[in-house]
Subunit: 189 residues, 2 copies
DNA sequence: CATCGTTGTGTACCCTCGTACACATGGGAT
DNA sequence: ATCCCATGTGTACGAGGGTACACAACGATG
């Protein structure tokens, strides 16, 4: 019993959890595997995170921050003078071009919310984050549409292994933004 | 040792697997849980499906057929006289309005392909199925786009719990179909 | 300095799982 | 009729998991 008073212990466990999920998927996540990866005893992980869901929530929240920073750093997103479609397409490109393992990891955690109610609120946070940034530039219905399309595009890239084509994405996003002929769109719920 | 020569044994196991995934998620799927659900001995499940991936593949393939039948039954999809966006929106509506547990199940299996290479080809089959039906009505790039958008919309509905708004979906799909001004779109890979 | 509560550690219990394997059974080929 | 082999069954083993819990260490409080 040597190491004591390690204030970053909790953080290190989260980091380790992210690495484990990245390497072995959510299925490979256990108190023990995280403990080994973080080089802490088993009891330590169960102390900080009573359940695996708690740990997943923390991991997802932290993983989200990666994308959030990307979004926050792109100031031209909210600049009314830029081409929104191009901005979003570039954003996706930047994200997908980064460390692919990290991307898959973030998406796996994100999608895990489908079956794990505990993760839902965190996944929703992510959506709202981006929504807010877009709110000043389009109506709510279009914002939702853009999010859906971006999700779908990412999914397609990750599932089929196809390369991300920024020009194609830009064109599509543009099509969604340009409302064709003033058709009425139901408001977002 | 009573029951013998049960030619539908394999099929019953697949059905049971689908029920198990529906009830407890993929994480709850095991040779044992399936065996219990199908009311067959443990050895029987391991005999027919050496690995759980094998079983998942069979389950996903069968689950896909549900949607495939929906698509196949909608002949107006390929009729050039109909509004494609409306047809697709209605198709989604029909699917999402059905048994919600089944929908979540199909999507969970579909998304599981992200991390399980064994499922990739099966997920791809699904995509191609729908693609073929759409091929006669739009160009490949738009087809891909429609699939991405539909995926994104479903994801949004399932993840956020928001209600599916068919009018909204119809409008969006329409925006994607109407190519704005002859912009060049990179071909699908 | 004594005490207390938070934080960290080691271990043991019991469960479930995948896998392996020996054995049973009966249809079909010869 | 006999044999073979695909199919089906029962059981045991070892790995790994969540959880619980007693104990250790140490900062804070007085």
């Amino acid at each position: 019993m040597v190491r004591r008073y390690d204030p970053e212990r909790r953080q290190r466990i989260i980091d380790a959890a992210i690495r484990v999920v990245g390497a072995k998927g959510i299925a490979g996540l256990s108190h023990r595997s995280v403990a080994a990866e973080a080089d802490v005893p088993l009891g330590s992980t169960t102390y900080h995170f009573k359940t695996l869901d708690d740990l997943l929530v923390a991991a997802l929240r932290q993983a989200n921050e990666g994308f959030a920073e990307l979004v926050a750093g792109r100031e031209s997103l909210t600049d009314p003078g830029t081409d929104l479609a191009a901005e979003l397409a570039a954003l996706l490109g930047e994200w997908l071009a980064g460390d692919r393992a990290g991307v898959e990891l973030e998406y796996e955690l994100y999608l895990a919310a489908l079956r794990r109610p505990a993760l839902r609120p965190v996944a929703a946070e992510w959506t709202e984050n981006v929504s807010e940034r877009l709110a000043s530039r389009t109506d709510p219905a279009t914002t939702r549409a853009l999010l859906a399309l971006m999700d779908g595009i990412c999914l397609q890239v990750l599932l089929t292994g196809a390369a991300y084509e920024e020009g194609w994405a830009r064109e599509l996003l543009g099509r969604v933004i340009r409302t064709g002929g003033g058709a009425t769109i139901p408001p977002a719920t």
